[in-house]
Symmetry: C2
């Protein structure tokens, strides 16, 4: 695909994600999308064949980002604590920078056609397994509290999910500050550690 | 309302919540519900007038439970740490014991009619404000890390949301163990504290 064509496709996907987020996947038509982008529907089909293909591409792109970030982190030379912190930071960063696409991936994946649905679920499972493995290795290495892996896994992934809905530059908190605050809660906990504990 | 009538209503609400969770609010009819309970549709209208009223009652009941738990905790003589831990524990417990109704409240509140929708949003806001106040007082008392209140609030509430979807007795973890594990992550953090830190 030429760079120009690929850029146009990125724009279509981004605007489609915003529309799906606003009006729902079912409530959005290819005509709505063409109008929003300002091209006629016929020429949009030059870039993408259907609403289903748009959804499939968005879900595929976002899950690919997550899986690539995980793969990169797995190969790093670092403690499990550092690896998992980096992963959580990158996970949040995707929500901040691509919030509409993440929202569509989180909420509309259930409208994927059967083949893509199975593929998407497998990729999500792959990501969850990777994060679970980091947790288990971190426990084995004595870095993490020995907690039930599923509970730790879903608590972490769930703890960051609101970001996609909430963060906007106007919130007065930078992505860095946001990531640091969430990482503090998940890794050090809300409770202040008293080194000189008087009981 | 007589006890017998009220018990029948509770049953209707519970079964309705399960159906809404399974088939969606829009996809469930009063006829489906009557069939599931095994009474005829006409006599069901003796207990409840419409699908909208069912949804309103479920959302009202669940938000009332949350708000009452908060009010009770606010009046306790305890540290803010203890209060917030108790609140998180009770919050999770509602998800474990009334998962279908919590699911409907979390996902289908947007189908509430205008008046009930405004009331529901106000009650949700009230709960969030109460939790935020516990966080802020805990920071002021030196008990909690000084983090952005909104970030801490939404991280906590979001961190427990998966429970409603996941927990079943067959998971091999008791509600107590589940609550303890989540509370450990949120208050002490995943990272093991090394009192004898060698760097």
């Amino acid at each position: 695909m030429s760079t120009k064509k690929s850029k146009k496709l990125d724009l279509i996907l981004e605007e489609a994600a915003k529309l799906f987020k606003q009006k729902g996947f079912a409530g959005t038509s290819m005509r709505d999308l063409a109008e929003r982008i300002g091209i006629d529907a016929a020429s949009m089909y030059h870039y993408i064949s259907s609403k289903d293909e748009i959804l499939r591409t968005i879900c595929y792109n976002i899950s690919t980002v997550y899986i690539s970030q995980l793969a990169e982190i797995e190969q790093k030379q670092a403690t499990y604590t550092q690896k998992l912190k980096d992963l959580v930071r990158l996970h949040i960063r995707v929500m901040v920078t691509r919030s509409a696409e993440v929202s569509v991936t989180n909420n509309d994946w259930k409208y994927l056609a059967e083949d893509s649905l199975q593929q998407f679920k497998a990729r999500r499972k792959e990501y969850e397994r990777g994060v679970a493995a980091l947790l288990e290795k971190g426990v084995a290495a004595g870095e993490f509290e020995a907690l039930d892996t599923s509970v730790a896994l879903f608590t972490i992934l769930s703890a960051v999910r609101w970001v996609e809905l909430w963060w906007r530059p106007e919130r007065g908190i930078t992505p860095d500050e946001l990531e640091n605050a969430i990482i503090t809660i998940l890794f050090k906990g809300l409770e202040k550690t008293h080194h000189e504990h008087v009981s």
